[in-house]
């Protein structure tokens, strides 16, 4: 009985941890959207900033991956 509750809590926690991915999605979308609006205003400067775009995506995406990792740990390790 007690193990069931722990299991249930782990699954609920895994589901809740997935909300972090939504945050990462919002962050990546904001970065790319702003990049695109900047690039359309000044297309000649756009190609020089693609590296910064990917760095920004990587940084904000990392936190989504962290939440995914927490979900996986709750599902399979706890």
């Amino acid at each position: 009985m007690e193990g069931d509750i722990v299991q249930m809590g782990a699954y609920i926690g895994a589901g809740l941890a997935c909300m972090g991915m939504g945050g990462a999605a919002v962050g990546v979308g904001s970065i790319v959207g702003n990049y695109l609006s900047g690039a359309l205003r000044n297309p000649s400067a756009a190609s020089g900033q693609t590296a910064m775009l990917f760095i920004g995506i990587a940084f904000s995406e990392a936190f989504g991956i962290f939440s995914f990792l927490v979900a996986l740990l709750l599902m399979f390790a706890v």
Partner: protein, 249 residues
């Protein structure tokens, strides 16, 4: 694993594809045991060597396909190192090229069905990330001595804020290898696990066509992710290298 479904509901194990198995026999795994990870890392290195050595053996003026791929990869990384880390960073180009080629090849090999993706293991990526971290820190201290610590002392900020910023910068500096490694492993692992989950849905007849579409779409996404994550790992290495070469803000 749809084949393993039992009578009471679906049993799926999307993480089963990442299990390490010894190549010969099935004894316990020690640090020297050759496993499937060892095999696929070896294949990745073999593929890189074949691409770069065989590709550039003839050195034709008009390159053939293999030579074009090799030249493309070389030029791509060279410009990246030069743009991000500056002229001084070009000295470390061979190391960054090696990292990129290994990660991108291992990622793409992992996408072959029934293969094993070595970069989905944090044990593999953390070694690369820690090597980058230690190398970059050593370069910084050898080049600038104690002046490397100016990296944490943001001189453009107001004086009262600087100690606070120094703490934040210090924490973010030491989190680097963690995020650097987990980003790569997590992305690759997530992509493969999602494909596996969609494959499990294929066992239900009503949604099997949908799951097929899902698998194809996720696979396309994974091909993109395989390249982008290798690119991101490499460009972050360049950024860290730039910080070590020019620590002052």
């Amino acid at each position: 694993m749809a084949a393993e479904e039992q009578s009471e509901g679906l049993q799926f194990h999307p993480m089963e594809q990442f299990t390490l198995e010894p190549l010969f026999g099935d004894g316990p795994i020690h640090w020297y045991t050759p496993t499937n990870a060892t095999l696929w890392m070896g294949i990745a290195i073999l593929v890189i060597v074949l691409l770069l050595v065989i590709g550039t053996r003839r050195r034709a003026i008009v390159p053939n396909r293999t030579q074009s791929i090799g030249e493309l990869a070389y030029g791509f990384i060279y410009t990246m190192v030069e743009d991000v880390a500056g002229k001084e960073g070009v000295k470390y180009f061979p190391y960054i090229m090696t990292l990129f080629m290994f990660i991108v090849t291992a990622n793409f090999l992992g996408l072959i069905p029934l293969s094993f993706s070595t970069t989905s293991h944090i044990a593999v990526t953390v070694v690369m990330a820690l090597l980058v971290f230690v190398t970059v820190t050593l370069i910084g201290f050898f080049k600038h001595g104690i002046g490397f610590l100016k990296l944490f002392w943001v001189s453009s900020a107001p004086l009262a804020l600087r100690p606070v910023l120094a703490v934040i910068e210090l924490i973010s500096y030491f989190v680097r290898p963690v995020s650097h490694s987990i980003r790569l492993a997590g992305n690759v692992m997530a992509g493969h696990a999602v494909i596996e989950v969609f494959a499990t849905f294929g066992a239900i007849l009503a949604i099997a066509p949908l799951s097929l579409i899902g698998i194809v779409a996720m696979f396309g996404m994974d091909v993109l992710v395989a390249f982008v994550q290798a690119y991101v790992f490499t460009i972050l290495t360049c950024v860290y290298l730039k910080d070590a070469l020019h620590p002052a803000h």
